[in-house]
Amino acid sequence: MIEEKEIKHIASLARIGIKKKELERYQKELSVVLNYFEKLGDLDTKKIKAKGYITGMRNIFREDSVNDCDEDVKEIIMKNAPQEKDGYFKVKSVF
């Protein structure tokens, strides 16, 4: 079973606060699913390439240019911000 300290580590990487009493539940639930993944071990994939996109698509490029968005869009975006100042998102101090 996945260890308690590993759950704490993943949760901190994922920036999800978890309570002490939840640790055991996550250990159990994630372990069951991770064990299920073992099934793939039966399959020899040495000669197979890893693929992310499978419809034969190639890289698609566009000009790297700044495109301003409409004022009404901007207004809603800033209204959605928990904290805003002068049209900018306000972010708390990192330290």
Binding site: V33, T45, M57
Partner: protein, 483 residues
Amino acid sequence: MIREIHNKLVNGDISSVGLTEKYFSKIEKEDKNLCAYLTLTKEKALKEARKIDKKIKNGEKIDLLAGIPVAIKDNICIQGEKVTAASKVLDNYIAPYDATVIKKLKEKGAIFLGKTNLDEFAMGSSTENSAYQKTKNPTDLSRVPGGSSGGSAAAVAADLAVWALGSDTGGSIRQPASFCGVVGLKPTYGRVSRHGLMAMASSLDQIGPFAKTAEDAAIILSSIAGKDKMDATSAASGGKKYEDFISGNIKNITIGVPKEYFGDELDKEIKDIAFESLEKFKKLGAKIKGIKMPNIKYALPTYYIITPSEVSSNMARYDGIRYGVSVDNKGKSLVNSGNLLETYLDTREVGLGDEVKRRTMLGTYTLSAGYYDAYYKKAQKVRNLLRLDFEKTFEEVDFIFSPTTPDVAFKVGENSDDPLKMYLEDVYTVIVNLVGIPAISFPIGEVKKEEKMLPVGGQLMGKWFDEEGLLNMVHAFEISNKK
């Protein structure tokens, strides 16, 4: 059905306002029990309906979808409207722009009734993971409608909308369509722009229609398909009118039937109904061919590695800084207190539901140093192997048939304590998303459970970008059922 309503509108037999009002009064009466809708947009809908009625009165030509009421899954953005993805973290979120599909439908004059319930961020197979309400199956209110697009499926099945949009990452259109007894199409990856659809697993997500008939699904697909500069993965459709391709002629078409899809997990009665459906296709002139797809059993574990991995990346944006709620773990606002890390941890602890957290953590694990090769990279390889299998299979057959699900709709609460059991609900559907092909679920019969006739869905999978083929197959099946 859409064409019929369209003709009535154009001939002046009914008005769009009258039709829209009729749907709202039905929703007001019936949705209390069904809980399909999260938000209703009555005022705007009636305003748009009046515009369409005016156009008709002035003798202007209107689109097939004009003036017809539709429901939209609440993970698709309509500018200026609340959009929650059924998550507490977006409880106060207003969509700043229209999804491309919405923009297209607005141009056609479609009438948006409201937004439908889903499993939070489309993660789930029963719509029980919504932070707001549990949608019920219209056939039996003690059962789930399937998920994640359960609200859209239930709304169409109960005729609380003429049609609806959903999204499908591993079966989220097809499985609820099957459970509710409607047609649900998952288009080829890239067929429909994902711009404005809240991302869950970006290499798998696709928007598609719920409808009462294959012809309706075809009309809808024609309106939403195509290349979009806002979604680099979208493909050109050349303005194809899918409804023009459904002749109902399926002579000499070969349907492959993989024995792996008819194993012990499949309900006996569903198996019988599936074989009866194949007989119907045979009578219509199709050839049935038994095929072997031994790697199918690897699809589900592969899916549940790739999806959480992509989920963990996509969910990072819900951080309490740029949008959504920003709260401490007692639910109090963090706007004027706390530091940055606390804001992240608390907002995500309180704002995200259990399944979203589970998948985000699972994905963080499978992508983390030391595990990446064993999980994610391995899964990407299997994904490619499955694609090669399908390429080969499609040299022999035109379509692949299976039941959509191994069983009929389950009871509310039946699977909710066991995440893996819930994942197994997707056993027949996930492979389609992994290989990127289109697939459709359509009603093929009913199974009696506790005095209720529960719908059974059949699934047809087609070659990449052959949506017209799938729609034609289902159209042929529907006609033969009417005779």
